[in-house]
Protein backbone atom coordinates (compact mmCIF):
# COMPACT_ATOMS: atom_id res chain seq x y z
CA UNK A 1 0.00 0.00 0.00
CA UNK A 2 1.30 3.43 -0.85
CA UNK A 3 0.79 6.24 1.61
CA UNK A 4 0.72 9.94 0.81
CA UNK A 5 3.11 12.23 2.64
CA UNK A 6 1.21 14.16 5.32
CA UNK A 7 1.87 17.54 3.76
CA UNK A 8 0.93 16.72 0.19
CA UNK A 9 -2.54 15.20 0.20
CA UNK A 10 -3.93 14.95 -3.29
CA UNK A 11 -7.69 15.01 -3.77
CA UNK A 12 -7.52 11.82 -5.82
CA UNK A 13 -5.57 9.79 -3.31
CA UNK A 14 -7.51 11.17 -0.36
CA UNK A 15 -6.05 12.22 2.95
CA UNK A 16 -2.88 10.67 4.36
CA UNK A 17 -3.04 7.80 6.79
CA UNK A 18 -2.17 8.20 10.47
CA UNK A 19 -1.46 5.56 13.11
CA UNK A 20 -3.15 6.09 16.46
CA UNK A 21 -1.70 5.24 19.88
CA UNK A 22 -3.71 5.44 23.08
CA UNK A 23 -2.49 5.44 26.66
CA UNK A 24 -5.29 3.80 28.55
CA UNK A 25 -4.21 5.07 31.94
CA UNK A 26 -1.31 6.69 33.71
CA UNK A 27 1.66 4.40 34.16
CA UNK A 28 1.05 2.39 31.01
CA UNK A 29 2.64 2.90 27.59
CA UNK A 30 0.80 4.15 24.56
CA UNK A 31 -0.58 1.20 22.60
CA UNK A 32 -1.33 1.07 18.91
CA UNK A 33 -5.09 0.91 18.41
CA UNK A 34 -5.58 1.50 14.69
CA UNK A 35 -5.32 4.04 11.92
CA UNK A 36 -7.36 6.78 10.28
CA UNK A 37 -7.30 9.39 7.53
CA UNK A 38 -6.91 13.11 8.22
CA UNK A 39 -5.65 16.13 6.29
CA UNK A 40 -3.23 17.23 9.03
CA UNK A 41 -1.98 16.40 12.51
CA UNK A 42 -4.45 18.56 14.44
CA UNK A 43 -7.44 16.97 12.74
CA UNK A 44 -5.87 13.51 12.99
CA UNK A 45 -5.78 13.98 16.76
CA UNK A 46 -9.43 15.02 16.81
CA UNK A 47 -10.52 12.16 14.58
CA UNK A 48 -8.60 9.81 16.84
CA UNK A 49 -10.47 11.19 19.83
CA UNK A 50 -13.79 10.53 18.09
CA UNK A 51 -12.89 7.09 16.80
CA UNK A 52 -10.89 5.59 19.64
CA UNK A 53 -11.48 7.34 22.96
CA UNK A 54 -15.16 8.14 23.09
CA UNK A 55 -15.88 5.48 25.68
CA UNK A 56 -13.22 6.54 28.17
CA UNK A 57 -10.55 4.30 26.67
CA UNK A 58 -7.70 6.71 27.20
CA UNK A 59 -5.98 9.57 28.96
CA UNK A 60 -3.52 10.44 26.21
CA UNK A 61 -3.35 10.14 22.41
CA UNK A 62 -0.53 10.07 19.87
CA UNK A 63 -0.94 10.24 16.11
CA UNK A 64 1.95 9.43 13.78
CA UNK A 65 1.98 9.69 9.98
CA UNK A 66 1.96 6.11 8.73
CA UNK A 67 4.54 7.07 6.13
CA UNK A 68 6.99 7.88 8.93
CA UNK A 69 6.95 4.35 10.29
CA UNK A 70 9.73 2.03 9.19
CA UNK A 71 8.59 -1.54 9.56
CA UNK A 72 10.48 -4.82 9.45
CA UNK A 73 9.65 -6.92 6.45
CA UNK A 74 8.15 -10.43 6.63
CA UNK A 75 11.10 -11.62 4.47
CA UNK A 76 13.50 -10.66 7.24
CA UNK A 77 11.56 -12.56 9.89
CA UNK A 78 14.12 -15.31 10.35
CA UNK A 79 17.32 -13.27 10.66
CA UNK A 80 15.50 -10.74 12.82
CA UNK A 81 13.62 -12.88 15.28
CA UNK A 82 14.69 -16.54 15.05
CA UNK A 83 18.06 -16.27 16.90
CA UNK A 84 16.35 -15.13 20.10
CA UNK A 85 14.45 -18.40 20.47
CA UNK A 86 17.11 -20.55 22.16
CA UNK A 87 18.73 -17.97 24.40
CA UNK A 88 16.81 -18.14 27.67
CA UNK A 89 19.53 -16.15 29.42
CA UNK A 90 18.29 -13.10 27.52
CA UNK A 91 14.95 -13.30 29.25
CA UNK A 92 14.50 -11.63 32.62
CA UNK A 93 13.26 -14.85 34.20
CA UNK A 94 15.91 -15.04 36.94
CA UNK A 95 14.50 -12.15 38.96
CA UNK A 96 11.80 -12.10 41.56
CA UNK A 97 9.19 -9.50 40.70
CA UNK A 98 8.83 -7.20 43.71
CA UNK A 99 5.48 -7.34 45.37
CA UNK A 100 2.96 -4.79 44.20
CA UNK A 101 4.57 -4.22 40.80
CA UNK A 102 2.01 -5.03 38.17
CA UNK A 103 3.45 -3.53 35.00
CA UNK A 104 7.09 -4.62 34.76
Amino acid sequence: MTVEQPNTPSPQAGWPLWEVFVRSRRGLSHTHVGSLHAPDAALALRNARDLYTRRSEGVSLWVVPSAQITASSPDEKDPFFEPAGDKPYRHPTFYEVPEGVRNL
Binding site: H37, A42, L43, R46, N47, D50, L51
Partner: protein, 249 residues
Protein backbone atom coordinates in the same frame (compact mmCIF):
# COMPACT_ATOMS: atom_id res chain seq x y z
CA UNK B 1 -50.13 28.19 25.17
CA UNK B 2 -49.98 24.57 24.11
CA UNK B 3 -50.72 21.52 26.21
CA UNK B 4 -47.06 20.54 25.94
CA UNK B 5 -45.97 23.50 27.98
CA UNK B 6 -47.65 21.96 31.00
CA UNK B 7 -45.21 20.63 33.59
CA UNK B 8 -45.12 16.85 34.14
CA UNK B 9 -47.29 16.93 37.24
CA UNK B 10 -49.87 19.34 35.82
CA UNK B 11 -50.39 22.76 37.34
CA UNK B 12 -49.10 26.08 36.10
CA UNK B 13 -46.11 25.82 33.76
CA UNK B 14 -43.21 27.63 35.32
CA UNK B 15 -40.44 29.50 33.54
CA UNK B 16 -38.16 26.51 34.24
CA UNK B 17 -40.28 24.37 31.97
CA UNK B 18 -40.28 26.86 29.17
CA UNK B 19 -36.51 27.21 29.55
CA UNK B 20 -35.98 23.44 29.38
CA UNK B 21 -38.26 23.24 26.34
CA UNK B 22 -36.42 25.99 24.44
CA UNK B 23 -32.91 24.67 25.12
CA UNK B 24 -34.03 21.05 24.74
CA UNK B 25 -35.59 21.75 21.34
CA UNK B 26 -32.40 23.48 20.17
CA UNK B 27 -30.40 20.37 21.03
CA UNK B 28 -32.97 17.91 19.67
CA UNK B 29 -33.42 19.62 16.31
CA UNK B 30 -29.70 20.11 15.73
CA UNK B 31 -29.07 16.47 16.70
CA UNK B 32 -31.60 15.38 14.08
CA UNK B 33 -30.01 17.59 11.41
CA UNK B 34 -26.50 16.34 12.18
CA UNK B 35 -27.78 12.78 12.22
CA UNK B 36 -28.78 13.25 8.59
CA UNK B 37 -25.07 13.23 7.75
CA UNK B 38 -24.67 9.65 8.96
CA UNK B 39 -23.60 7.64 5.95
CA UNK B 40 -23.34 10.78 3.79
CA UNK B 41 -20.40 12.77 5.17
CA UNK B 42 -17.48 13.53 2.81
CA UNK B 43 -15.21 11.07 4.64
CA UNK B 44 -15.73 8.29 7.16
CA UNK B 45 -13.91 10.16 9.92
CA UNK B 46 -16.23 13.18 9.59
CA UNK B 47 -19.23 10.87 9.48
CA UNK B 48 -18.22 9.64 12.93
CA UNK B 49 -17.34 13.12 14.21
CA UNK B 50 -20.70 14.61 13.21
CA UNK B 51 -22.60 11.61 14.57
CA UNK B 52 -20.73 11.94 17.87
CA UNK B 53 -21.74 15.57 18.12
CA UNK B 54 -25.32 14.62 17.25
CA UNK B 55 -25.35 12.04 20.04
CA UNK B 56 -23.97 14.53 22.57
CA UNK B 57 -26.80 16.90 21.64
CA UNK B 58 -29.38 14.13 21.80
CA UNK B 59 -28.24 13.35 25.34
CA UNK B 60 -28.68 17.02 26.30
CA UNK B 61 -32.10 17.05 24.64
CA UNK B 62 -33.25 14.00 26.57
CA UNK B 63 -32.22 15.52 29.90
CA UNK B 64 -33.79 18.88 29.10
CA UNK B 65 -37.05 17.57 27.65
CA UNK B 66 -37.43 15.25 30.62
CA UNK B 67 -37.41 18.36 32.79
CA UNK B 68 -40.27 19.72 30.68
CA UNK B 69 -42.38 16.56 30.46
CA UNK B 70 -42.36 13.18 28.75
CA UNK B 71 -39.38 13.20 26.39
CA UNK B 72 -40.87 10.90 23.75
CA UNK B 73 -44.18 12.67 23.69
CA UNK B 74 -42.45 16.03 23.39
CA UNK B 75 -40.14 14.90 20.61
CA UNK B 76 -42.53 12.81 18.54
CA UNK B 77 -46.02 14.13 19.06
CA UNK B 78 -45.74 17.90 19.01
CA UNK B 79 -46.73 19.89 15.94
CA UNK B 80 -44.32 22.28 14.24
CA UNK B 81 -45.75 25.37 15.94
CA UNK B 82 -45.17 23.83 19.37
CA UNK B 83 -41.40 23.58 18.95
CA UNK B 84 -39.41 26.34 20.63
CA UNK B 85 -36.01 25.94 18.97
CA UNK B 86 -34.21 28.84 17.29
CA UNK B 87 -34.51 28.84 13.51
CA UNK B 88 -30.74 28.49 13.11
CA UNK B 89 -30.65 24.85 14.19
CA UNK B 90 -33.43 23.75 11.82
CA UNK B 91 -31.67 25.09 8.71
CA UNK B 92 -30.93 22.31 6.21
CA UNK B 93 -27.46 20.76 6.19
CA UNK B 94 -26.62 22.17 2.74
CA UNK B 95 -23.02 21.39 1.82
CA UNK B 96 -20.30 20.65 4.36
CA UNK B 97 -19.46 24.36 4.70
CA UNK B 98 -23.12 25.20 5.49
CA UNK B 99 -23.11 22.58 8.23
CA UNK B 100 -19.83 23.86 9.63
CA UNK B 101 -21.06 27.47 9.65
CA UNK B 102 -24.23 26.41 11.47
CA UNK B 103 -22.05 24.46 13.94
CA UNK B 104 -19.75 27.42 14.50
CA UNK B 105 -22.59 29.87 15.17
CA UNK B 106 -24.50 27.52 17.42
CA UNK B 107 -21.71 25.83 19.35
CA UNK B 108 -20.08 29.14 20.32
CA UNK B 109 -23.47 30.30 21.56
CA UNK B 110 -24.13 27.08 23.46
CA UNK B 111 -20.69 26.99 25.05
CA UNK B 112 -20.99 30.58 26.30
CA UNK B 113 -24.57 30.08 27.48
CA UNK B 114 -23.88 26.82 29.32
CA UNK B 115 -20.73 28.39 30.75
CA UNK B 116 -22.88 31.12 32.30
CA UNK B 117 -25.59 28.75 33.49
CA UNK B 118 -23.09 26.30 35.01
CA UNK B 119 -22.34 28.85 37.73
CA UNK B 120 -25.96 28.94 38.89
CA UNK B 121 -28.15 26.51 40.80
CA UNK B 122 -30.86 24.04 39.94
CA UNK B 123 -31.36 21.37 37.31
CA UNK B 124 -30.48 23.64 34.41
CA UNK B 125 -27.12 24.48 36.04
CA UNK B 126 -26.37 20.80 36.58
CA UNK B 127 -27.01 19.98 32.95
CA UNK B 128 -25.01 23.01 31.81
CA UNK B 129 -21.99 22.12 33.93
CA UNK B 130 -21.86 18.69 32.32
CA UNK B 131 -22.69 19.76 28.78
CA UNK B 132 -20.30 22.70 28.59
CA UNK B 133 -17.37 20.30 28.11
CA UNK B 134 -19.14 18.65 25.21
CA UNK B 135 -19.97 21.96 23.59
CA UNK B 136 -16.35 23.09 23.95
CA UNK B 137 -15.44 20.15 21.73
CA UNK B 138 -18.21 20.95 19.25
CA UNK B 139 -16.91 24.50 19.03
CA UNK B 140 -13.36 23.28 18.52
CA UNK B 141 -14.50 20.97 15.70
CA UNK B 142 -16.35 23.80 13.94
CA UNK B 143 -13.44 26.17 14.48
CA UNK B 144 -10.87 23.75 13.03
CA UNK B 145 -12.96 23.25 9.91
CA UNK B 146 -13.78 26.94 9.46
CA UNK B 147 -10.05 27.69 9.47
CA UNK B 148 -9.26 24.94 6.98
CA UNK B 149 -12.09 25.68 4.58
CA UNK B 150 -11.61 29.45 4.77
CA UNK B 151 -7.86 29.25 4.33
CA UNK B 152 -7.99 26.25 1.96
CA UNK B 153 -8.68 26.17 -1.78
CA UNK B 154 -10.46 28.91 -3.74
CA UNK B 155 -13.53 26.68 -3.89
CA UNK B 156 -13.63 25.86 -0.16
CA UNK B 157 -13.08 29.51 0.65
CA UNK B 158 -15.95 30.62 -1.58
CA UNK B 159 -18.30 28.06 -0.07
CA UNK B 160 -17.33 28.80 3.53
CA UNK B 161 -17.87 32.54 3.06
CA UNK B 162 -21.20 31.97 1.39
CA UNK B 163 -22.29 29.63 4.21
CA UNK B 164 -21.32 32.18 6.89
CA UNK B 165 -23.18 34.93 5.01
CA UNK B 166 -26.26 32.82 4.41
CA UNK B 167 -26.79 31.80 8.03
CA UNK B 168 -25.86 35.14 9.57
CA UNK B 169 -29.43 36.38 9.64
CA UNK B 170 -30.44 33.50 11.89
CA UNK B 171 -27.92 34.37 14.59
CA UNK B 172 -29.76 37.29 16.22
CA UNK B 173 -32.32 35.00 17.75
CA UNK B 174 -29.59 33.33 19.80
CA UNK B 175 -29.50 36.37 22.07
CA UNK B 176 -33.21 36.95 22.58
CA UNK B 177 -33.86 36.44 26.28
CA UNK B 178 -35.64 33.17 27.07
CA UNK B 179 -37.95 33.16 30.06
CA UNK B 180 -36.52 31.00 32.82
CA UNK B 181 -32.96 31.04 31.48
CA UNK B 182 -30.95 33.15 33.92
CA UNK B 183 -28.35 34.40 31.46
CA UNK B 184 -26.70 37.73 30.84
CA UNK B 185 -27.86 38.02 27.23
CA UNK B 186 -25.90 41.14 26.41
CA UNK B 187 -22.66 39.58 27.60
CA UNK B 188 -23.58 36.49 25.62
CA UNK B 189 -24.08 38.52 22.44
CA UNK B 190 -20.82 40.43 22.78
CA UNK B 191 -18.88 37.33 23.78
CA UNK B 192 -20.29 35.48 20.78
CA UNK B 193 -19.32 38.26 18.38
CA UNK B 194 -15.79 38.30 19.75
CA UNK B 195 -15.26 34.55 19.46
CA UNK B 196 -16.99 34.07 16.11
CA UNK B 197 -15.36 37.22 14.70
CA UNK B 198 -11.89 36.04 15.74
CA UNK B 199 -12.37 32.61 14.14
CA UNK B 200 -13.69 34.09 10.88
CA UNK B 201 -10.84 36.56 10.70
CA UNK B 202 -8.26 33.89 11.42
CA UNK B 203 -9.80 31.88 8.60
CA UNK B 204 -9.02 34.93 6.39
CA UNK B 205 -12.75 35.38 5.72
CA UNK B 206 -14.99 38.40 6.17
CA UNK B 207 -17.33 38.71 9.15
CA UNK B 208 -20.77 38.95 7.51
CA UNK B 209 -22.40 42.35 7.52
CA UNK B 210 -26.08 42.24 8.19
CA UNK B 211 -28.89 43.42 10.38
CA UNK B 212 -28.00 43.52 14.05
CA UNK B 213 -29.94 43.92 17.25
CA UNK B 214 -32.77 46.08 15.94
CA UNK B 215 -33.76 44.53 12.63
CA UNK B 216 -33.21 40.80 12.61
CA UNK B 217 -34.75 39.26 9.57
CA UNK B 218 -35.32 35.97 11.38
CA UNK B 219 -36.01 35.20 14.98
CA UNK B 220 -39.37 33.85 15.94
CA UNK B 221 -38.50 30.19 16.36
CA UNK B 222 -38.81 30.66 20.12
CA UNK B 223 -42.44 31.67 19.52
CA UNK B 224 -43.10 28.57 17.42
CA UNK B 225 -42.74 30.13 13.98
CA UNK B 226 -40.38 28.04 11.87
CA UNK B 227 -38.90 28.01 8.39
CA UNK B 228 -40.16 25.91 5.52
CA UNK B 229 -37.62 23.12 5.78
CA UNK B 230 -38.48 22.42 9.42
CA UNK B 231 -41.81 20.73 8.59
CA UNK B 232 -40.12 18.21 6.32
CA UNK B 233 -37.48 17.47 8.91
CA UNK B 234 -40.14 16.90 11.58
CA UNK B 235 -42.09 14.61 9.26
CA UNK B 236 -39.06 12.39 8.88
CA UNK B 237 -38.22 12.52 12.59
CA UNK B 238 -41.76 11.75 13.79
CA UNK B 239 -42.98 9.44 11.03
CA UNK B 240 -42.07 6.14 12.65
CA UNK B 241 -43.44 6.96 16.06
CA UNK B 242 -46.67 8.35 14.63
CA UNK B 243 -47.19 5.36 12.30
CA UNK B 244 -46.41 2.79 14.98
CA UNK B 245 -47.22 4.34 18.35
CA UNK B 246 -45.25 2.77 21.14
CA UNK B 247 -42.94 0.87 18.78
CA UNK B 248 -39.64 -0.21 20.30
CA UNK B 249 -36.81 -2.58 19.53
Amino acid sequence: MSAYEQPPGGGTPGPEHRAALALGDDALVLAQRLGEWAGHAPVLEEDVALSNIALDLLGQARTLLSLAGDEDELAYLREEREFRNVQLVEQPNGDFADTIARQLYFSVHQELLYGQLAGGRGELAELAAKAVKETAYHRDHAEQWTLRLGDGTAESRRRMQSALDGLWRYTGELFQPVEGVPADWEALASGWRNVVGAVIEQATLAVPEGPQSSAWSAGTGRQGVHTEAFGRMLAEMQHLHRSHPGASW
